[in-house]
């Protein structure tokens, strides 16, 4: 990078998209800091509380990554919540009722994700149907299929599948100095679960994919201007198809994480999960119109919504619905902010 470019960069400052990302990150830090101060007596400041954010939301992080990719193309995928329910049901039914081993079941679930995404992507990319309609059909299908597999709530017990049970309860300990001594004098060493590793690896891989591969850049180009992308020789249809395949695949990974958290399958599971994923992506700076956004933002988007929930539950007296209201307010805030930036940009031209 030459000195001239750096100078130019310094002069123009940060562009509005980067600024949005910074605001998201800053908001997360502020919210968390406020939580630490107000609820320090209730253990909010413990490292474990922070790590729990990742543990609880591991599935959502994966799903939000996929959602970001789809939204970059200007599309949307509202089938993810139902797909997670179906994945969990397949796992729970397979292990809990049929007693199948875990590895083949996991491979099966991931394959289902790819096929599911392929069908949706084909309809959106090649037959040019509205993504909302296509994935809404996917939503109904997956939710319905979950009930077809089994209408009961099934738990995966240690007896049914010891391997899976062990994975779910595995603890990966962090260095001891991060821990604290509880009031019984016992040292609590903070830990994470394998799902956190899966989620973070997903974020890193997708980040690299978006930044450094032809496919990743094509996602941005298609979202920026579809006609132009086609004119410049990109295969728009295939890019869209791949985006939906990726979304459903990541959703299935998220489904596995989700199942490792809940250890059960039921028809009602993960209802409205798609909206959480979309909200996280939007808060993280992804535009619904496509072309702008990245997974780091979405990761923080997930963490912000997660923090709100934690704050509300830590408070203990507030109705849990206040978390929804806070999320709604945040969404409005970010969307208004985005349009204000867009407006200022147009004005200054």
């Amino acid at each position: 990078m030459s000195g001239k470019d750096q100078l130019d960069r310094a002069k123009r400052g940060i562009d509005s998209n980067t600024l949005l990302l910074f605001i998201t990150i800053a908001l997360f830090v502020v919210m968390y800091a406020v939580g630490c101060i107000v609820y320090s007596g209730k253990g909010f400041a413990h490292v474990q509380t922070f790590l729990n954010l990742f543990i609880t939301n591991a599935g959502l992080i994966c799903v939000a990554c996929g959602m970001t990719c789809v939204m970059l193309t200007g599309g949307i995928d509202i089938s993810v919540g139902s797909l997670i329910a179906m994945d969990c049901m397949i796992l729970a039914y397979g292990m809990g009722v049929k007693g199948y081993p875990s590895i083949p079941l996991l491979v099966f679930v991931l394959t289902v994700g790819i096929v599911f995404g392929f069908v949706q992507g084909f309809l959106v990319g090649y037959l040019q149907i509205q993504p909302f309609i296509v994935t809404m059909a996917g939503l109904f299908f997956a939710r319905g299929m979950t009930a077809v597999i089994c209408t009961d709530q099934i738990s995966i017990t240690e007896k049914a599948n010891p391997t899976f049970y062990a994975w779910a309860n595995a603890k990966i300990y962090l260095p001891a100095f991060l821990g604290y001594t509880n009031n019984r004098g016992k040292v609590q060493i903070p830990f994470i679960r394998p799902t956190v590793i899966i989620a973070l690896v997903t974020v890193v891989v997708i980040f690299l994919l978006l930044k450094y591969t032809k496919f990743g850049r094509a996602l941005y180009a298609v979202g920026g201007n579809e006609t132009s992308a086609a004119m410049m020789g990109l295969n728009v249809k295939r890019t869209k198809l791949m985006a939906y395949v990726l979304s459903s695949f990541l959703c299935s990974i998220g489904g596995i994480c989700y199942c490792l958290n809940t250890m059960s399958g039921s028809v009602q599971q993960a209802k409205g999960f798609e909206m959480d994923a979309i909200a996280s992506a939007v808060i993280g700076g992804t535009l619904l119109t496509g072309g702008v956004g990245n997974v780091i933002g979405s990761l923080f988007g997930v963490q912000i919504t997660g923090t709100i929930h934690t704050l509300v539950t830590t408070n203990g007296k507030l109705l849990s619905s206040w978390a929804n209201i806070a999320t709604a307010a945040l969404l409005c805030f970010f969307i208004v902010l985005q349009s204000v930036f867009a407006y200022v940009k147009n004005r200054s031209k």
Binding site: M1, D5, D15, A221, N225, S228, G233, K345
Partner: protein, 504 residues
Amino acid sequence: MEEQILITMRDITKTFPGVVALDHAQLTLRKGEIHALMGENGAGKSTIIKCLTGVYERDAGEIHMAGIEGNIFNHSTQEAQKIGIATVYQEVNLCPNLSVAENLFIGREPRTKLGMVDWKVMNRKARKIMDDLKIRLDVTNILENYSLAIQQMVAIARAVDMDCKVLILDEPTSSLDDTEVAKLFHLMRGLKKKGVGILFVTHFLEQVYEVCDRITVMRNGKFVNEYDVAELPRMQLVAAMLGKDFDDLATIKPEGASAAGGELVVEARNLSHKGTIKPFDFEIRKGEVVGVTGLLGSGRSEMVRCIYGVDRAQTGTEKMHGKDLKINAPIDSIKAGMGFLPDDRKADGCFAELSVRENIILALQARQGLFHTLPMAKQNELADQFIDLLQIKTPSRETPLSQLSGGNQQKVILARWLCTHPDFLILDEPTRGIDIGTKTEFQRLVLKFASEGMSIVFISSEIDEMLRTCSRMCVMRDGAKVGEIDGEMTQESVMAAIAGGEQQ
């Protein structure tokens, strides 16, 4: 044949349902020249370009290109790009959300050994390209942060870097200001020196004389002639573009009813809309028919859009019947008694899925407010009355508008405004694309309404048509009103006014 010839297009014919868009048209482009392609609306400029770049497939004709055997047939823009024909459109075909460098390289990014996009190399190469073209910008910045002119130059740079031999610029200057145009011309001259053949489509006469070497003029889908710019006076160019051979219209008495003493109906002072029309004055009296003339893109439509308030005026004042008029949206002007028949009827005027009746009563309904529905009997009566009056050829008043021919659609939209009994009616190219018989009828109707006291603005690309109907004409050039002519008007005097500048 000269050896410098890059592209020859011969006998290109292209028909669309009901229209012959190109009729044995031809075009020759030489190496290292800037070649203007000129013609009025419907001349076939964009069609012939689209046949070359593979957007349309021609019905007949031959295209030959230097260095390539045989007749070329492009099926897509990508194919055309592969053999070195690149196009830069008025609306830039790049991705605004990506960096300049990426826009130059997307689809062919330099990659590292691992197959990852190599941003360092990409930015370096991009900087070199821009430096070579003497364009100063930060290639890592996002494209939409730059002006349209820069964006267009990036598009051109991309085309050049992909080894294009033929560069087609489709009205690149329409939305640029003077300094930006100068930059673009500088770039074009540089490319010319490198031997690129540039095909330049524009309406701006000044620009043609500034930068082009040759001109091909087209009219009504036909090739008119090819000229050397240096040897072609402006008057002749305008004459060639407008053509003098349309005296086949039925003659109507060329007496635009003069209304010198009548009451002022609309009076506009200093109106303007940024980027489309510079400040202008306008007035019209009761029963007067005023023409607006000028080449396409000279600001004809922009002026009336500003008066009517589709494009909200940013400066100036407007009075109607002596009272101040504040127009925030077209509904205000409708309520004040204006009517507007837009030139792009597909986009601005036509509700193709609605029936003829619904299309007719629409403006009246809008003026009344949506909660005071017109009684059905009244609607039917109005519809029948105008179908009869304007002789609209439709199976019934409930037929969807989309099933009618272009001329009849135009009449339906005219009826829409007539039934609101406007005091002031704007007709922007009402006769474009309709057959000669209907055209004549239209002109008669205009004169009839004027004699009944309506004030009408009439815009047409055909001077003859306006000479027959108008008593006064506003002359537009390059986005500004440059004057008015009245009294004895002839083809020659009007064309001279349009051409402006250097005269014979």
